[in-house]
């Protein structure tokens, strides 16, 4: 199947959305990205790549990095993970502390900020150089060794990430963060500050569409069962408080970031990524969600 015409049609359909929504303001280094940026990439298990727009321009992946952390930690400690973080959608904004208080410091799932901070804490306890581990995973799964951190974004987040500091200290009070808060946040902000383009991003998720194996290299990352479970978590929890709506509209497991990126997985077939910096009220790319809904409608493909 050739996706070029579909991508063109999608571009036309979603371009009126570039003026709507808001660029993330709370991370100064992100607030200056032009609103009319838009890229999209489809990478298939057969090795084909289709792109449109700014698909080769780098952006900050932000919360999309939570899937890499989850992959690393799940592989590392398996089911023990679920003693420190849940598997349920939160029903609350991505940085809420309310549920965390009622549930005594156990975050709802690993794809919201609180959950990912716990995963980062585990990485700090298990690895000598946790920053390198994620970067290695991203480079290996995408096949691009040039992928790196964007230090300007990371510095920007450290100055303004008050809510994330609050989450970490709060969980520390429940003994669910064990390393010093400053160390946990240093690693966390680094993961969020990875810069990638749409093609790298879609390619780096292909192992999740391929039962845990990187299709290009044949390298094993995680088991078939683990890949299925990470996809399930993305479907129920991947777009914060808009996960249900995204499943309803696009019908694919996916993960978003406040940099405007979204990546989605169609198991046994392909991955599709999109970047549009202007966000809706739940913190997800407006054009990105619309593009992915069009994609599954036009191709007739979804997990449902």
């Amino acid at each position: 199947m050739n996706y070029d015409n579909i991508l063109k049609e999608i571009y036309t359909e979603v371009s009126p959305l570039f003026d709507k929504g808001e660029i993330a303001q709370y991370i100064p280094a992100l607030s200056t990205v032009p609103r009319n940026k838009f890229g999209m990439a489809v990478c298939t298990l057969d090795g084909e790549t289709y792109t449109i727009g700014d698909a080769y321009e780098q952006f900050s992946i932000q919360s999309i990095s939570k899937v890499y952390s989850l992959t690393l930690v799940f592989k590392l400690i398996g089911e023990r993970l679920w003693k420190r973080v849940g598997k349920e959608p939160s029903g609350n904004p991505f940085n809420s502390l309310v549920q965390l208080e009622y549930e005594k410091g156990i975050p709802r799932n690993p794809l919201i900020n609180a959950g990912s901070l716990v995963l980062t804490d585990i990485l700090l306890s298990e690895f000598q150089e946790p920053k390198k581990e994620i970067l290695n995973l991203v480079r290996k799964t995408s096949g691009n060794n040039a992928i790196n951190y964007d230090n300007a974004v990371i510095a920007s987040e450290k100055i303004t990430g008050h809510r994330n500091f609050a989450l970490a200290h709060f969980m520390q009070s429940f003994k669910n963060i064990l390393n010093p808060v400053d160390d946990v946040l240093d690693v966390y902000f680094h993961h969020c500050g990875i810069a990638m383009n749409c093609v790298d991003l879609a390619r780096s998720f292909l192992f999740l569409a391929n039962h845990g194996i990187i299709p290009d290299s044949g390298e094993y990352v995680i088991s078939k069962s683990e890949a299925k479970r990470i996809n399930a978590l993305m479907l129920t929890c991947g777009l914060y408080d808009e996960s249900g709506d995204f499943a309803f509209r696009a019908g694919l497991p996916g993960k978003s970031g406040v940099g405007g990126g979204i990546v989605a997985v169609l198991p046994e077939k392909l991955c599709v990524s999109v970047w549009g910096p202007s966000l809706g009220p739940a913190g997800n790319s407006l054009a990105g969600i619309a593009a992915l809904e069009h994609f599954t409608t036009l191709t007739g493909m979804s997990v449902f």
Copy 2:
């Protein structure tokens, strides 16, 4: 594929769970069901049926009926529905009023009690005989005209359903229930009080695995897109506050009821239903969830 051996293996695996958990106590007519009842049925789009245990014994479908109501209302008023009910997982127990207060009487989704009461209210406004409409849908999709209401269960719920009365009055105060509360609950309790067996149940959901068409009769129920969207809602919201865990473990869209039934959909292939009356803390059949997890593990099939 022949599922008989898989069903036998599942039966052996889950039988130790019959003694665990609790039979639903708050509906007196349900509290006397023996704990060791267990049935399971697989119905394929090819017309094959595989069963084990008490798969031909009737039980009260309870909240599973919410999928029939959703099908009827979605078909009837389409996207207008989403003005009165959301599409997100609730992150709260099935009968919680907390979120309803913060969100001014708009229930999180149509598969929790509050949401289904709104759907029932719409059915009352749109149909002369709403009780008949659901029954007709169930009979038509299952191909079994003998399916009926269990009046003992319905009478039992009316006496003890204080929380549902509270939910309806509460939404009435937000003007999201328009018909008299007693009328809404009469219809609601009737839907919950439908009695079916596992085979009827699996068969009646086949149209959702078949892009909206009943496979036996070829009759159109809803569009392909609507079927996909109902499956998405079941995956994110179908098992109350355990939906994320069920997606993680079983990887299928499904819906449960406090009568101990669960039904799940594998698009383009089959439906599988299970009945085990003893419930876990979230109100879902303990043996049922385990059985469906085994089913997808043993067959290697899931939407992910």
Copy 3:
């Protein structure tokens, strides 16, 4: 001390507030009261009465009746009461269900709707004619046998009191309402629907300023210790979610109603009541609160 000049000064000060705020709309029979009504009465333990404005015009006392219910029930069952209702400010609007869910059907205090519904349930269990009992207490403490129910208001509340029906059904689900909901609400709406004027109201609270004894007749109502405790509850909980602000501004135990009345107690000295139908966001009379703040500032008297 002669309060006539103080009352005149207060009237002038608060009259600009008559145009601000909102008349209670959710009880149709109350929504037609003219906004420029204002009355105030001071009744001393010495038997003096000072009035201004519409102090002899009747209005619906609404939630002020909760103090009479509390007096009756506290006298009747004493400390056993606190098994079914708390003593803490709620920190939430007067008709909130949120806290009730977290605290398993035990209302925060007897002066919010949920708490008063529990008290009404107790009155129903303990008395043959609970409606008569409250009326008798009001007549006895005020010395006015003509005080009666306003049946138009009561009928109006029954039609629109969805939230109160929700609260009662909700507590019934926690077994903290034992009588049929319709019976409980019939009595509750009757209590709320008592019509009184400012002079009757101030006089009827004098026993709380007088260690439990009606000063005119010398009749014993409750003990000194019980009177002190009811005053304490009024101070911490009497003005819903504005109780702290009222204590801060006026420094007196008091109770308000959505009919626009407020009554306050200065122990060992006097009671002061005020009526102004236009309400602030917390449901308390705007002019009434301002008038009572002026009263304690001008007289230099408060409990602090």
Copy 4:
């Protein structure tokens, strides 16, 4: 009136409580205080002092210091204070973040941790040496220049005060903490770490019983109206989530700390302080609350 016999009777009554409850564990330096410590002091406006037990032994005043901060800030910026903090009881535990999230970073009142952190932030903005200012106020109002910080307690709190760090970062995210979090907490922990005995404590609150004037020196601290308002805040909010119960039982404005101290004010008469390190579930001294209830019962004195 001679209070010696009353204090003896109270000591006998409350001593069985020494074995009940829990010593505060989360501040290591406090956790080693012996459970059977108990002191009580009555200081009258006439200059009389009555004591029993360990009334001259120092303890950590902890949250009682919030009243001194409030006095300083209220005097300094007056009504502007209420833009950054509320005046209502919280209805939640003293260190809850839930309400803070719903109310966008505005703490409910100045006597819970979040509110006092905001006050500390204001002191940091307004004073060169905020630590000295509070100490000066305490020394001046108590007449004891030897009162000082307990550095062991302060160091202990800094290591374990995760929840307070969380609160400050959280409010920083709402722009209601303007100074660096580490600076705010340094001052906050110093205030909490003041060591005093019962006599100093009761004496230092006498200006609140005396319309804002220190009775010994005649020195003006705050206005009559401000003193009244601080007393009102103590009555509605001074004992965290047990404030209503304390008002009900003791009927006095008061403030507690997790070091086991409580101080209460009887306007125009006296102050009474008590120290018992073992705490009930709301974090208030068990023996202390009981002692103050006995005190108002035996003397027949309360604000109600």
